[in-house]
């Protein structure tokens, strides 16, 4: 099992005109171009803005990797993407964020609805999030306040 990065990255220039409409210009760049604020990305952005009347409000770089041997998924009572477990996380700055994961294993629940926060895999997941993830604003996470299974749409019962 290994992650294989794509041969090129994607550079995206996001424009907004004075009517508020958005447009995006995409191009491929070498996979060594990873910083949207400097180097090749900054040069292209600056030169593009010089000949456009719209506002180039964001430069974005997409980096893609594919798992070449992902292993086999397993079946279970909640094995469809529409079945999700939702965790609500509180950040150090007092803000909240949620993360939803599809096809949850039934072993992480204490009943058909509530997450079992004593389950070892659940605690490992939360530890990984607290140690490595942020909110979009850059704040680290401090605690999980809720965890429950979301009922898929159009299903009448759990």
């Amino acid at each position: 099992m290994a992650w294989v990065t794509a041969p090129t990255n994607v550079l995206m220039l996001h424009f907004e005109d004075d009517a508020g409409k958005h447009a995006t210009m995409k191009m491929n760049v070498a996979n060594t171009v990873t910083n949207p604020g400097s180097g090749a990305a900054a040069t292209i952005s600056s030169d593009a803005q010089a000949i456009s009347d719209s506002a180039l409000y964001e430069t974005e770089i997409l980096i893609v990797a594919i798992e070449d041997d992902p292993g086999d998924p397993v079946e279970g009572p909640y094995d469809r993407p529409s079945d999700k477990v939702l965790f609500k996380l509180k950040a150090q700055d007092g803000s909240y964020a949620t993360i939803q994961i599809g096809a949850p294993l039934d072993t992480i629940f204490s009943n058909a609805y509530d997450v079992d926060f004593t389950n070892a895999d659940v605690t490992d997941f939360l530890t990984a999030m607290f140690d490595n993830a942020n909110t979009a604003g850059g704040a680290t996470f401090a605690a999980a306040t809720e965890g429950f299974r979301r009922i898929p749409p159009r299903r009448k019962s759990l």
Binding site: T8, D17, M27, N35, P36, A40, A48, I63, F125, D131
Partner: protein
């Protein structure tokens, strides 16, 4: 200036080949899919879902504090189209939104000469962009203004 965080979107595939994605944020500047922190989160998610991770997409962005030109002549539906060719002769189109009127020929209102600021842009693209398979691009000698507007329904 880069954004405060890097966005990571991981696609998982469950049984029956059905997919879903999970998005989270990590420290700005982390752009390696094999980063230990990203892999730790993915491994932990793999342990609580029936699905397996198959694709990682990392988005690093830099916002710019700019405003559009007031009452601009050409809007985002109008494009400056430049056709670059790679070493195999395959054309690659790049369309820049809302070109400045000053770069468009007065003679026909369409032709864009690759000089000055336009040449700087096409040169930067040729020097730094590549084809989807990594092939080197050659800058064009001319560009065209294209209007992409929906026809009015009668």
């Amino acid at each position: 200036m880069a954004s405060a965080s890097t966005r990571v979107k991981v696609t998982f595939e469950g049984p029956y080949q059905l997919e879903f994605s999970v998005t989270f944020y990590v420290d700005a500047g982390i752009v390696d899919p094999t980063d230990d922190g990203i892999q730790a989160i993915i491994a932990a998610i793999n342990a609580i879902t029936c699905a397996v991770a198959v694709r990682i997409e990392i988005s690093a962005s830099a916002p710019h504090a700019v405003t559009p030109t007031a009452s601009q002549v050409y809007v985002n539906e109008d494009k400056a189209q430049f056709v670059f060719k790679d070493a195999e002769g395959v054309p690659h189109n790049f369309k820049l939104p809302a070109p400045k009127p000053s770069i468009i020929s007065d003679d026909d209102g369409t032709t864009i000469a690759v000089t000055g600021a336009v040449a700087a842009f096409t040169g930067a693209v040729a020097a730094n962009a590549v084809g989807p398979n990594g092939s080197v691009l050659t800058a064009p000698s001319i560009g065209q203004r294209r209007a992409s507007r929906k026809a009015l329904k009668k």
